[in-house]
């Protein structure tokens, strides 16, 4: 790379490491939501009776 390897490989490393992290985070989020540990599936918000009661 004509002495510029650190900049070139550094750029490619940052790009593909961040993409890999993003993919891993989406896979983790998918697994969490499938097993019921998702961000918005807390027990109090999942109770349908509370939801319908509040809407009247």
């Amino acid at each position: 790379m004509g002495g510029y390897g650190v900049y070139v490989w550094g750029s490619y490393a940052v790009t593909f490491v961040l993409i890999a992290i993003e993919v891993a985070m989406v896979i983790k989020r998918k697994r969490a939501v499938r097993t019921g540990n998702g961000r918005e599936s807390k027990p109090e918000t999942r109770n349908p009776h509370l939801e319908t009661g509040a809407s009247h």
């Binding site: 790379m1 004509g2 002495g3 510029y4 390897g5 900049y7 070139v8 550094g10 750029s11 490619y12 940052v14 790009t15 961040l18 993409i19 993003e22 993919v23 985070m25 989406v26 989020r29 998918k30 939501v33 499938r34 998702g38 961000r39 918005e40 599936s41 918000t45 999942r46 349908p48 939801e51």
Partner: protein, 248 residues
Amino acid sequence: MSKSRLNWYKYAAPVNFYPLAGKMIPVFAVLSVIAMVVGLYLGFFVAPAQDAQQHEYYRIIFVHVPAAWMGMFLYVLLAIYAGVGWAFNARLGSMMATAIAPTGAIFTFISLVTGSLWGRPAWGVYWVWDARMTSTLILMFLYIGFISLQSSIEDPRRADRAGAVLALVGVVNVPIIYFSVQWWNTLHQGATITATSFKMASSMRPALLIMVAGFWIYSIAVVLARVRCIILERESEAPWLAEPVASA
């Protein structure tokens, strides 16, 4: 009302969109890997060893330009989805906006980091408060602002509306980034590719265009995967989720 019009609206409903997105993700994921591998091969083995003005570090262009474009395009797309979700009370539109934000923020961050890694050998500095770089940094803050604003509001629909206001106000920054190299004297070079010109050696063009395609297709795949998670998180009480379609 024509049949095609009905079909168009069909996929605005999460119940119909969810399985469709599930089928599309593997296709886009595979295509994006193929495009990136081909693009990198062309960028490193076919593109010439040395540019006329720059040295080997010009090869950063094959990730820098696609990432910078995605950062801008995705913001415009985010603002459109957020605006549609707000104006027409279409919750899937708002969910798409929420799903786009992290990917846009990551691409904007990649463009800033690869840009500074290019700036150091080319200009001698990692960073200058040049119009293009400053406006791109503002884009990054807009994404972070959008994500933190939405996560700070408990009620999803209120979070959607607040996010939409921020997204639509912030969209003014995108043309500022794009035209910054024309409007101000910037250290950053002008546009390589415009509607009428392509100022680049022809042997370098396929690599850049294929990398752009790869980043686009990747974005589609990862945003669809994220929006499926958001649909499940938000609609956990919806009856359709109890049906087999959710496992598709």
